[in-house]
């Protein structure tokens, strides 16, 4: 239940125990005077102003006399049961005595009746019962409130846990999706299919040492993919090694149509990069730059270091891209994933841009901080 459901006054009533106390005091005591009027005054036919005024006055006195009881119970609330019981009993007896005396003396002055003190025992007995009820009712309400509070706390706790759980599940889903996407890259079925085809061909044409070499390359590449969690970083040297394995496998298929060029200066090699960040770029370069060209082409990977930023260019000799298109869209899902991964690693402190080279090919540039 939320606060906003109620009118502010009702809300105060619901939340504020002081308001509740005084409301119950007034309703209870003046309810009692109503009962007393309807029973005693009418029964004894005491309808003079004095009698009726006294009925109201004794309720007002009741409100005042019972007031300190609240503080008394508060004081002993966390004490042993025996103290609480005895203090309650003492309170009841004390209040009954005071209230009875006050009632009788005011009754005699207001109505002019005499010798009422003789009935003191009867008055006291009635008072005792009323205060006993008061105390019982007070504890009933008090314990009800406590129970209610506890219940609310538990509910809130439960809903908090639930919200927390939903959040955690969402985060997990996002992470798992990212990992699945990566796995799709690492074990691209097309790539695996082509590679196995090539190996089977090598065996058939009796080039078993080449077949062996290719199987080794493939297993190295797969091991790299499996060993390196996509959320971790590896050194650029390791990353380039993996890409080289990938490219060597592709070169078995493309033959002389695929040429390679690497320029990775020594000071760049130990810099960490997200693992397998280059492979999709190289895959794209082959798909769009090399495969459609009758004469094939060249893929160059060039790294450089400047002002604490590492720049890696993946350049092909293909047809380039139409600059009028949205770069990420036109280069397909692969580049979008790369962009998402870079964002996860570097937030906004990175650059991924596509440019057509002077010779008409495509240059994909990655620029990341070296920290």
């Amino acid at each position: 239940m939320t606060d906003s459901v109620y009118h502010p006054l009702l809300n105060a009533l619901y939340r504020n125990t002081n308001v509740q106390f005084w409301l119950l005091q007034i309703v209870g005591w003046f309810g009692l005077s109503l009962v007393s009027f309807l029973s005693l005054n009418l029964w004894y036919n005491q309808q003079d102003t004095g009698y009726i005024a006294h009925t109201l006055l004794q309720s007002a006195l009741g409100v005042l006399v019972s007031w300190p009881l609240r503080s008394l119970f508060h004081y002993f609330w966390n004490d042993k049961l025996i103290f609480r019981l005895s203090s309650a009993l003492a309170g009841i007896i004390g209040c009954s005595l005071i209230w009875s005396i006050l009632r009788i003396s005011t009754f005699m002055t207001m109505t002019g009746e005499k010798d009422v003190w003789a009935d003191f025992g009867g008055w006291l007995f009635g008072s005792f019962l009323i205060f006993l009820s008061w105390v019982a009712f007070y504890h009933l309400v008090k314990y009800y409130q406590l129970l209610q509070n506890k219940h609310e706390t538990i509910l809130k706790l439960a809903s908090d846990t639930q919200t927390e759980q939903v959040k955690r599940l969402q985060a997990e889903t996002v992470a798992r999706e990212a990992q699945l996407k990566m796995l799709r890259y690492q074990l691209n079925p097309h790539f695996l299919f082509n590679t196995l085809n090539a190996i089977s061909a090598l065996v058939k044409v009796h080039e078993s040492s080449k077949a062996h070499e290719m199987i080794i390359q493939l297993s190295k590449f797969l091991r790299y993919s499996l060993d390196n969690d996509p959320i971790h970083r590896v050194s650029l040297r390791q990353e380039i090694e993996a890409v080289t394995q990938y490219l060597n496998i592709e070169r078995t298929r493309f033959g002389r149509r695929l040429q390679l060029e690497f320029d990775i200066p020594f000071d760049c090699q130990s810099i960490d990069v997200p693992s397998l960040i280059l492979q999709p770029l190289v895959e794209n370069a082959i798909k769009y730059g090399i495969a459609p060209a009758v004469a094939g082409g060249k893929i160059s990977i060039i790294a450089s270091l400047k002002n604490d930023y590492l720049t890696i260019d993946v350049i092909d000799t293909g047809p380039g891209i139409d600059k009028n298109h949205d770069i990420v869209k036109s280069a397909g899902i692969g580049l979008k994933n790369t962009d998402e991964r870079l964002k996860q690693f570097y937030q906004d402190d990175y650059e991924l841009r596509l440019d057509n080279t002077k010779k008409g090919g495509l240059c994909v540039r990655l620029r990341v901080p070296i920290h």
Partner: protein
């Protein structure tokens, strides 16, 4: 029996080598050329007139289908597609009884293709090999573009009388008759070769001949007509035929029977 003269075509050197190795184990086959792209394949096929061609579909530049479209009907060899293609392509091949082998290649499957080719050579005296191939290719491109082929050589407005409308992957193109280099018929289809491209339409050669200018277009083979203005040179061949070389670099075979009709244009 005489060996089947065969051309093998694949852009991947290893795949080509594998094809050669597998075929060399079959005694009925004589490999007369190995090509690593579509252009080489067309040249080799025109020059050597093989009986059989093993043709990779996915190749850069001119793919396997382009090779079929640009080969003259009259010299079309039997074709076995070698492909790692999608299922719908395979369906189209089955429908038009076109032979195909799925990668990865295995020797038994290749041997069966060769047997089938030998059977067909014995039984099919017409040598109408291009028609089912074009049928399959059209089927595939229809499915890919989800469009019905447009066969509108007819019903053109007056201003369009000397033009041809063709639909290529969903786009309708207008081709002036003067742009047409040569045309060959393949069953229910016509391959119109214009400015280096081949357009396939549903029509008959006779129908088209009535529309084309007699002084420009000449029949050089049973199923081939050529725009004489595009002929750059003529090479005579041994058995009485000859080879026409066109401005776009293509070569066309002239049959002995049509020798005279071409001769009068060059006098």
């Amino acid at each position: 029996m005489q060996k089947l003269r065969t051309i093998i075509v694949d852009d991947e050197p290893l795949a080509l080598k594998l094809l050669r190795t597998v075929l060399s184990e079959i005694s009925d086959i004589e490999i007369v050329a190995e090509c690593s792209n579509g252009k080489q394949a067309v040249e080799a096929a025109t020059e050597l007139e093989p009986e059989l061609i093993f043709l990779d579909i996915q190749m850069p530049g001119m793919n396997g289908f382009d090779v079929i479209k640009s080969l003259q009907t009259d010299i079309m060899p039997m074709v076995v597609f070698v492909t790692a293609f999608h299922q719908y392509a395979v369906d189209a091949f089955d429908l038009h009884a076109v032979d195909y082998v799925l990668k990865p290649l295995d020797s038994e499957r290749i041997a069966r293709s060769v047997e089938r080719a030998i059977d067909r050579l014995k039984n099919d005296v017409d040598r109408s090999f291009k028609s089912p191939l074009i049928g399959a290719i059209e089927e595939i491109s229809e499915r890919a573009s989800k469009e019905k082929p447009d066969e509108s050589v007819n019903n053109l407005p007056d201003g369009m009388k000397r033009k041809l409308l063709v639909r290529d992957s969903g786009v309708v193109k207008v081709i002036p008759f003067d742009d047409i280099d040569w045309v060959d018929a393949a069953g229910d289809y016509m391959c119109v070769h214009a400015v280096g491209e081949t357009h396939v339409i549903r029509s008959t050669l006779r129908d088209l001949m009535t529309k084309l200018d007699d002084n420009l277009f000449v029949r050089i083979h049973r199923s081939t007509i050529v725009n004489v203005e595009r002929v750059v040179s003529v090479t005579p061949l041994q058995k009485g035929g000859s080879l026409l070389h066109l401005t776009q670099g293509e070569s066309l075979k002239v049959s002995r029977n049509y020798r005279d009709s071409i001769r009068k244009f060059f006098k």
